[in-house]
Symmetry: C2
Subunit: 419 residues, 2 copies
């Protein structure tokens, strides 16, 4: 990619490109020459990939923004987009997809440099206090904000679509049932949930499966919301919401479950998480961890980690094994449902855009744009295979009370589908 | 376990124990004091666990055998059993189970020592020539030997039991169909199989699914058998058996599949295996690897590795990821079906005992006893969670032509079950 590709568009009214345009062309090359067009608003110049028609046009407002972009494209793109110094004309999802795909195609050759870059960027540590800070920053934006676009179920994790055209709320319920079936949850089961969001799943397990649930979360806003919901539903005696860190879980349970918390745990704490899970379920219980993941170790996109999810890290399956291997736990089933997260995010983005006027009133235009880019970029990441979604079912090593096949999960889902 | 437990049986005709009995008692303690009784035939002494009733009695023929056992119990027990210097009165499976369970219970405390012991024992390297030697030693014992107890399907890998009372042949067919369904195998699919045994699965894919199969194996005896079968079935034009190493696989395929070969590959060759799989299936194909595994890295039982499976190593899921992570492959599904291998082995052991007279005529008593212990010990390993059986389904990272759910696998199996 050293040879500069021929521009599709020519500098307006000039025979020669400016230095800025030439530097931007070099940046495009270093990204693997994705099919994008840039417009430098202050010179009127256009810089485009030589490879096929552009999927979108990126308009850069001024020289300072361009210089930032050249210095640190991964972080500055998102920041400038949020601040309105970069505008995208065209489909934001398609734009981020072609960037991911170009980077991946380059990875085949430039893999080492990519890996080094990944390791240099380390997420913020998730100590007890650090976790509280990190979680507060993201989840305490306010329940009202999230309720605008998460849908009825208030679940901020990947749904499960029995078919691609299922609705979001239906798919969130199907996800909860899918997990409960894998866990063979039944009446009287004692469940501990590590990281419970707004309590939706805890309440579902109690209401639909007759389980008794103790659910942990360190987000004050979410716990408040969850407790109110439990009272409304008359489930206060069967579901206890504890405002505390998963590391402080005590007690004996039949089931340990954690949906969408592992991303915030940090690999340095995986072994401890495994000990807690093993201690919780003893020799005969069942466990399930649902998490965003990777096909190989790599840091989260640095802009997402800095601006959206401080401290977050999506592990590879190999890294996740550090939870189970040291703690006498046996993995029974790993399912990768990454395309379900792309579907989920497309629902969220659609609802988010529908509610964007309200979001603007609640916050400001920067937040509106930042979250739009985050949701669109996440769709792109799941659709291009940059991110995965793993559900890992496990039990103690010597527990033979495990179903021979997984047919029971799908038999129940087939009955649901016929309703 | 330093305090010597009280014996259930007393030395016959003597007030004091011999030195041999005391040393044996110490060995029993170091094994975690499993509920076994030993009889020293030359002194008449009995040494038994203090913990509950013995599940079996181990009779040691002479002082030399005992001394060997004290020096290297893991390897010498099997050798002495094979040679008839150790006799087991009672259930051989139960005996090996309590030994595994005691060791596991000790592992919680003595974990480091166990791990060190595991690492010191390294399997024989699987270079191209080494693999040929290792495979020849095991699989070329003769097709007649294996056909005595493997059943009609001639499949020397874990079967899949739709229900625990299914027959062996039925379960072997169900295993093949289970794998084909995971791979969504259909007419015209080009399949490469790495390690094809006696060709049963290759022929099944061609006959039942309309696939075209190229199947690799380095066992001359097995390839000869497989080719004869292909001719008999009139499938010679659709299934090609290649007597060559998986490392020499070339060509483009829709499917890469390997059932029960990974155990012989050696972790040092995993990355290369991944490259071969990725190259074979390209951007849109599917792959499945079926292998014995572990919950955490540990060598195979040294007696099995030395006497039965030279060069074999069952990997943990984390270790298996070294196949996929470096090669742009994405894991879609991991299923652990270890209890199916216990069921499979129970069928094999039963058939083996039925045919034991023929085995004795073909070989000698040592082989009869060695294989009996190997089959019984393997049942114990799968039933106690010492060994696992993983099926890993994968595809290229960016391939989105993947089913949303796994329901299609179980819908087809439900139809089968109703037949």
């Amino acid at each position: 990619m050293n040879a500069a590709p021929q521009p599709l568009g020519r500098p307006r009214g000039e025979g020669r490109e400016t230095l800025e345009a030439r530097l931007l062309r070099r940046l495009l090359g270093s990204l693997g020459d994705p099919p994008i067009e840039f417009l430098l608003r202050w010179t009127g110049e256009r810089v485009a990939s030589a490879h096929g028609a552009s999927v979108a046009r990126v308009e850069i407002a001024d020289r300072a923004t361009l210089i930032g972009l050249l210095a640190d494209p991964q972080v500055r793109f998102g920041d400038a987009y949020g601040a309105g110094r970069i505008e995208v004309v065209g489909d934001l999802v398609e734009l981020t997809k072609v960037i991911y795909l170009s980077a991946a195609a380059q990875g085949a050759e430039g893999g080492v440099a990519q890996r080094v870059a990944g390791w240099l960027h380390r997420p913020r540590r998730n100590t007890l206090a650090g976790s509280r800070r990190n979680i507060h920053r993201h989840y305490d934006l306010g329940n009202d904000f999230y309720s605008l676009w998460l849908g009825e179920s208030m679940a901020y994790t990947c749904a499960y679509f029995p078919s691609a055209d299922a609705g979001l709320d239906e798919a969130q319920v199907a996800k909860m049932d899918h997990v409960c079936r894998k866990l063979r949850l039944g009446p009287g089961d004692r469940v501990v949930e590590a990281g419970c969001g707004w309590g939706t799943f805890a309440l579902h397990m109690a209401a639909r499966y007759g389980a008794t649930v103790r659910a942990y979360n360190i987000s004050k806003e979410q716990i408040k919301f969850a407790r109110a919901r439990a009272s409304e539903l008359g489930l206060g005696d069967r579901v206890e919401f504890v405002e505390d860190d998963y590391r402080n879980i005590t007690g004996d349970y039949d089931v340990f479950v954690s949906i969408g918390m592992l991303e915030h745990v940090g690999t340095e704490n995986y072994e401890e998480l495994g000990r807690i899970a093993r201690r919780s379920i003893g020799a005969t219980g069942r466990g399930l961890i649902h998490s965003i993941g990777r096909n190989r170790p790599a840091a989260l996109h640095p802009w997402i980690e800095r601006r959206i999810f401080p401290g977050a890290y999506p592990p590879s399956i190999g890294q996740m094994m550090q939870i189970f291997e040291p703690s006498d736990l046996s993995v029974l089933d790993v399912e990768n449902i990454r395309l379900h997260y792309a579907l989920t995010l497309r629902h969220w983005l659609r609802r988010y855009e529908d509610a964007v006027g309200t979001v603007r009133e609640m916050f400001d235009e920067t937040l509106v744009r930042t979250w739009r880019l985050y949701l669109a970029g996440s769709i792109a990441a799941f659709e291009t295979g940059v991110l995965q979604l793993f559900q890992v079912l496990f039990t103690a090593e010597q527990n033979n009370d495990i179903p021979l096949t997984r047919a029971h999960v799908y038999a129940a889902e087939a009955v649901d589908a016929q309703r």
